[in-house]
Symmetry: D2
Subunit: 440 residues, 4 copies
């Protein structure tokens, strides 16, 4: 079902897997959805999702210039018509790419209305339409979210706004976004704290603001649970931009927050590559920090520029970096709640529609290749064993006793006195690196 009645990407058909020697830009070279990688198919390991905002709404203005992209589905005076067209374009591209999940902010689906009531009506209309398309095509949202940062009212934050009136407006918006997400059977619901932070600490009470944030998340959670939302809530860490400092700085900061405010039962982390690097971490580090606490929810796949200090959200392509990330993901059993959402945009000067399609194909291929490489490292090499062996002293004898909490400081000293200077044990980083590189 389409209302537009036209194809937006007529030049391509369904993208097929052709194998790694293919040079066809419109084919997968690694992403064979049904390939078994251990106990799961590639398609299950990598539950891909498209990002409604970047791929279907972003016309690429930037702080130094106007929009460059003429997306054909946006050309209509009527908001509802535009929303239908956008949905048609999105679902067409998903079908052609073989992606059956999407992620959205409330007002990606349809423009915000002039007031809350009009916005509700609009969300009602477009979600009816999307639900039909979903059912027809076997597609559902990986997650929904509310855009609490674009409207000027949020210039000083939403849940952390010094003005209760703004916080209440944000609450109203989340309620509607949750309603839509439940209706559309979204698997999860995300909070990205776009402007939850400060521009300057000199005019800010961080304590009040963070407590309000916690309370806000609690009431949202309660509402969701009361209304049948079974999925997981995600917080998406980002350290800065647009704010000078954002409260959801990185995974460990968010974890501390969630535990402090007892939100850890319902919330997990949505980890984005570019947000990790903006925070001074590798993506794999952020993943590991989440996994160490059983709190990895989902990932936002993209790529930052290590030398540009803002969110470039480029499509992922770096097979070296991705293999290291997939190694962590596979070692820890994969992504349970969420999936791999392409929170990525083609460059401002990539103005052909073709660029959008190719970016997705190349990104999916890069993830598939990395998954296969990581799996081989874990199953065909000594990697896992070497890593485990580094810690074997804690599995036996007094090391185990220490791990079991049976030793005190005097015991440690006695051991040290008795055993003298420890033997030197190389960390063997280069050997590990060589091993990994054998499989990339």
């Amino acid at each position: 079902m389409t209302t537009s009645g036209k194809e937006f990407f007529p030049e391509i058909g369904k993208i097929k897997y052709e194998g790694k020697d293919s040079k066809n830009p419109y084919a997968f070279r690694y992403y064979d959805k049904d390939l078994m990688v251990g106990e799961k198919t590639l398609g299950k390991w990598l539950k891909f999702s498209i990002a409604y905002w970047h791929s279907f709404g972003n016309i690429s203005s930037d702080p130094f210039g106007k929009a460059t992209k003429a997306l054909p589905w946006l050309y209509h005076n009527d908001s509802v018509k535009v929303a239908y067209n956008k949905a048609d374009a999105a679902f067409e591209l998903m079908a052609k790419l073989g992606i059956d999940h999407y992620c959205f902010h409330d007002f990606d689906l349809i423009d915000e209305g002039d007031d809350l009531t009009e916005s509700e009506v609009r969300l009602q209309i477009i979600s009816d339409y999307l639900l039909e398309k979903q059912n027809e095509m076997g597609i559902r949202p990986l997650w929904g979210t509310a855009n609490l940062f674009s409207h000027p009212r949020y210039m000083n934050g939403a849940a952390t706004n010094p003005d209760f009136h703004v916080l209440a407006s944000a609450g109203a918006q989340v309620k509607n976004a949750l309603d839509v997400s439940i209706k559309l059977n979204a698997e999860n619901f995300v909070f990205w704290g776009g402007r939850e932070g400060y521009m300057s600490i000199i005019n800010t009470s961080t304590k009040i603001e963070k407590e309000n944030l916690a309370r806000f998340l609690s009431v949202c959670r309660d509402y969701g649970r009361k209304n049948g939302f079974k999925g997981t809530f995600f917080i998406e860490p980002k350290p800065m931009e647009p704010c000078k400092h954002q409260y959801d700085y990185d995974v460990e900061t968010v974890l501390g927050f969630l535990y402090k405010y007892k939100l850890e039962k319902d919330f997990k982390l949505n980890v984005e590559v570019n947000h990790a690097t903006l925070a001074g971490h590798t993506f794999e580090h952020e993943l590991q920090m989440a996994y160490d606490n059983n709190m990895l929810g989902s990932i936002d796949a993209n790529r930052g520029d290590m030398q540009n200090g803002w969110d470039t959200d480029q499509f992922p392509i770096d097979i070296f970096e991705l293999t290291h990330a997939m190694l962590i993901i596979l070692e820890n059993g994969g992504i349970v709640d969420g999936g791999v959402n392409f929170d990525a945009k083609t460059r401002r000067d990539s103005t052909d529609l073709e660029d959008l399609i190719i970016a997705h194909i190349a990104g999916m291929d890069a993830f598939a290749r990395a998954t296969i490489a990581a799996y081989r490292i874990l199953t065909e090499s000594n990697y896992a064993e070497w890593k485990r062996n580094r810690y074997q002293s804690y599995s036996k004898g007094l090391g185990k006793d220490f791990s079991d909490g049976k030793l005190d400081l005097e015991d440690l000293k006695d051991f040290a006195l008795e055993h003298g200077e420890p033997l030197q044990i190389s960390g063997k980083q280069e050997r590990f690196e060589q091993l990994i590189s054998m499989f990339i």
Copy 2:
């Protein structure tokens, strides 16, 4: 009492306060120790401490070159004599600067011995000597710590070492360092996780390592408490260097860790300027994060270079930056447990002894001036009121109900529906900035 029997800084006498118009490099221009600033003297607000390692042990080798500094107290073949001399130099400088606290690592006091037993004997000898000098001069340690990073055995970490044998050696060392700290009546005890982190995540189990770290801190705490240590334990966050990633990344990461492992009763934060900036934060941010949780323990005063990505540990001098930090400190009631430790070193090419003295005088003056400025901002201007007023909507009506946990998401929506679009309220950052600058 001195064993060296000589003055190491004969060219200076006791540094006096001469007022802000003085151009005498050997006088304080702002640091009038007994000046009342509100209810406390400057000397109480700023419990200064010298750093034994930088000021008396650091001969300024760097990764690209050999030592440049010929510190006269280090010239002796005998470790004990050197240690006596060093103590004499340190106490002489403290007396002349009017500083009555110092901070030390175990093997700052005296060189590590060839084995644990010899190290113990040495620590015994030098602590006897220091205790006498302390009593004579009314000086005591602000905090002690164990150096768990310089010896090669710690190349892969101490409490997070993959080898239990190394962890046990670290335990033995902390036991002795705690014993010395208790004997010397140290007010607090610090853990700086010098190499607690990883060089590469590919050969590392962060989960095991952090759990071991938590357990290690617990047994140290237990030992201290059992043996009469009444002070506070501090963790000193640092994000990187020498490790690629250090577990005590920043204040919020450490807070999350302390709460997770239930260490928050005994541990607080020792926040260092340069470590804050290496982590991508301002110093004032890190202070605020600690205060928001009543976890600010002490500060390490120095100054980083925002454009050099390593710990430069320069002496503090930037009155603009310091006023912002002191504003946070005064707003939050000052530093309760610890003080202001000059974890700062003169540049490698500042090779005159004079440079060391002047660096301290200028640093103390800069802090004093910032304290006075911050106090005036808080008491003579509208600053505090303006800041408070930004949040007044949470002190009354439904805003207060929200703060008190009485509203749910539907209530927020009802409020939003009823009240319509919020009025725009400027954040007024420039007005705040202007106000602060009026008092610097």
Copy 3:
């Protein structure tokens, strides 16, 4: 003369100097325009200029949100009326602040037309109006420039665009901008290479692009000179953003470029604080590099955030940083061709008109205070002498011979053999820092 017939800033009159103890936010505390500082007045040292784009055109959308600022002069359907209003607002603010220079891009003055011809007509109209106002009020442009980055056609660069057609369009635009600048008696003309650089080096021939840039600048220069432009052309370095890499990276990169293409006779540098810091340099470093080559043209006054990797363009306020910059400027004789342009914007959430005024007052005061402090350091302290003395060995004997090019490598060796190991001479950075801080 105004066409709007109204005051846009009715709440303020002419801002007066009230002295440093004034707490009036609408008064200068340091900026006494006529105060003699050495041989020049403060007003001459600091030839302030307002930035037409930030202060009168910027409504503060950002990559994550819509415009927040409702500037009253922009509310009209007719481009010409808006342009008249904007001019009225700008000239009113300049008069009230006592600023008699402004800087503009072509399409700051009036919106770009639908085609080149319409744009020309519009520029003709608005420049007539501005010229009248200028004459009436004794105001003139510090510099003009052409906006070669906002229009989508420039998405891949202007003078460095791979497509000659775009380069030609840029040429047409510069011609008109130069014509307007000459007509308005602009003192200088700027090139900021907004998108002259690359998004990715993999699709870019940097060699062709930079050669085209040089040729483009040459033909612009030739046109200007032929048509009576007597001022200096400026290049404004910036390292990145919006491009991944911008060719005018920093002062030294631009200097190399200017010398290589023999443009150094007509071009100098316009150095911006925030661009300096984005390039990994201090502002004072960039100033010094320009002065060392007699190539400092003008400065763009603002302030970056050292921890946010994009151009925040905040208003300057940091007295410590500014004193260091003014020290370089005064040591080198001041700014000859240009002035001090406030290329700064109030924060996105500073939405009161008052904020704009206060930001300017505070920024002017900060510069004035820094100028006075720097002057005192240079005239009342040993600073200049100490610095000169460090290099005295090159003013006499063999050191001078070396400076004069009379020694060869064997001579150096003979000297070294004869004189043995050099004495160690401290760099005394802390002593210099203390001295400077005595005057801030």
Copy 4:
């Protein structure tokens, strides 16, 4: 010939090429030295060199700890014996790896003597020995250099020292280093300005210092040429560390300097990966800037950590990054004067000798693989053609006229008027990225 009479790496024989499926850590998987890649063998494209300092002298102390590495060839009380052993170890490893070039600082070869004369004697002795070994084994230095940064006398710079006496000492040292380099038939000679820069700009005359640097380089060049040195002199850019700012900041800064002081005939650039990234550039960017001026001399192969702001000098392993670099190198005809020097060190905790060997093997393999991939991209894909076509508008018609310097600004405007708005042309970065990834 060895004086030590023993093998230092007895556990390995000559490393062989075994093909990409080999999992033998002591074999090459891609580096088949004799494989023809276009018109040259892999061995010719990649003239590998070992770094005497990192691999044979570095015992891995760091700013936070003591040396960890017990290199067996260093254990002797006699400097000459140590030097012989070191040479034996170095030449043994080169032979086993199939590397026939090495790079050295003067005092890598043998410890500096107590005075200049003793140092000369020592250099004489060790260079005799090395010359014999070179002749026997067909090995020669890729380049030599003088270490002008480790000795305390250079704490304020060598050629840029404020004290002429130090500059003269540096001259003496370079003379000897040049003599040794000529004697050993070194292909090139490098200047890395270790401490040529400043710790603080407030006590520094950058103008005097840079002029002295230029003069110093000139007299060194003159001496070399007069004494038969036929190779190229290289400057190795680095932006910072140990200095706050180093004058040889990056490639373009150095180029500007070389042209300004007319040194460009004899000097080229030695570009290091980690120095590029410290300067905020990619390695490929720095290579391209050098090539665009025919000034690429040689490369220092290693890998930085984008999130740690100091020189980590890790061994190269990232196939994605290296392919992009080799693409630039191959597009520009390869490295003419120099080669690929492993200026890389195993991590401080990689304490097995095996780690050093494996690091080299893996690094050589990574470069070989990248070279092959880049060659295929250039010869088997449309990459070069696509890139060329982007600029085709400058090869014909008025675009060509512009390139040929035949158009003025009015001509550009006429063209723009006549042709109207340019068509939008996508930059197609994602398509380029996909293409490249097909060959990695």
